[in-house]
Amino acid sequence: MVPAYRSVFKDEAKLDITYVPSRLPHREAEMRLLREFFSFMLSTPEKMAQRVLIVGDVGTGKTALSQRFGADIVQQAKQQGLNLHYIHVNCRQYRGSLFFILHHAVSVFHPNFPKRGFSAEELLNIFLQILDEQNAHVILTLDEFENLIEKEGSEPVYKLTRLQETRLNKPQRISLICILKNVKAVESLDPSTRSTLQSNIIRLEKYSKEQLVDIISDRVQLAFKPLAVSEDTISLIAELAHSEGGNARFAIELLWRAGKYADAEDLGAVTPECVRKAVSSIYAITRKSDLASLSLHEKLFLLGMARFFKENDRAYASITEVEQAYAVVCEEFGVEPHTHTQLWKYLQVLSALGIIEKSVSSTGQRGRTTLICLPGIPAHELERELAMLLEKESG
């Protein structure tokens, strides 16, 4: 690797997808609105439960807005001696399951709470018991809310929004922030749940090129050494991200990747050429989906497939073949391979995301076989991409 002293980076972590900057340029009005909706939390949190929808396209700052707001209000509440928690759950990560989402929420208070022996409803009651005992209030953010609706329908959302009806005169405990790309997803819910949710909507518009320049400049200051990134470079990244739908996340990822290219070539500065290299290597992938959000074993499985297709000049692979490739990858990364049954589930996930395609062949001697192909992404780019992500994870 490149020695650290030549790196263009000062603090790479500031470009991580999990990093929430202290200020969000061009989201000041939306932040004020969100604070307004939850202002009661700092005075009479027991009196009501709020529901807010945050709606906007990929990379419009929905998650960052909500997390920044959450961190700030928790800090303020603490100073006032209030026991307020902000819990951010990505519904896709928990497979849209209300049980897993609630288990995560309970785990915030009891990290080793058992996973077996409870229904989602019992878990909700336990969650309320914990909050009652600690006199705590929670803002529960359901990110990628669509996944919960798709998986569970109206029922769990109804439960979460009508908690108080069976709690007599007890204090309110749980407020909700639901984050989604399109408000239409809510329309599939039953009318009463829908109307409860739709009262407070914050819409995030796509960023303009100028706004993206501000956002990128902020991050450049945090993450790079002085003078490592020129204005030209920033402008080019903003331009590309703007044409990518005003996607700030794409901009920041491009910035990081361009920095990596600069380091790889030992340039000492991030040139526009680095940006062009970065964008060409990831264009397809970033469009297809967010590889970073895959679980470790989903990534390893996919890496196994990428290597298979890189090494074999074929369009399709069998389950057995990709499973063997996956086992080799596991050995390389020093982890225990997951079972066949689990790999089937990962195939579903990857297929649902459009990263792979499955087809059933009935031409084989042993009856029907499932065949797998990578439709849109060059195998060597997918491999490099995953290797980068896995390195980032383990390092």
């Binding site: 080793n112 709470f113 058992p114 022996g117 409870f118 019992e122 336990i126 018991q129």
Partner: protein, 97 residues
Amino acid sequence: MLIMVNMQIETVLGNKLRIKILKILSKIRELNVTEIARRLGANHKTTMKHLKILENEGILQHKRFGRIRLYRFNENSVKAKAIQTLLETWENAENIR
């Protein structure tokens, strides 16, 4: 319910399973009875017996949620603190060798 107060340290700690329970909870912080029993390799009844002895000594405390009990060190107990320190010291001393 067993009620024992003020037991001698050798009576309380002079037992492998009880020290193992304390070791588990020192690492994991909080755990339900079934999971403690599983990690201990003991049955539910035996595990409960030892948990109660440790709880009566003020070293552990538990919280009930529906059908389960979560056990943890009693944060207000100086004995519990000293035990945790010992367990961590032992652990690190072994890692160093």
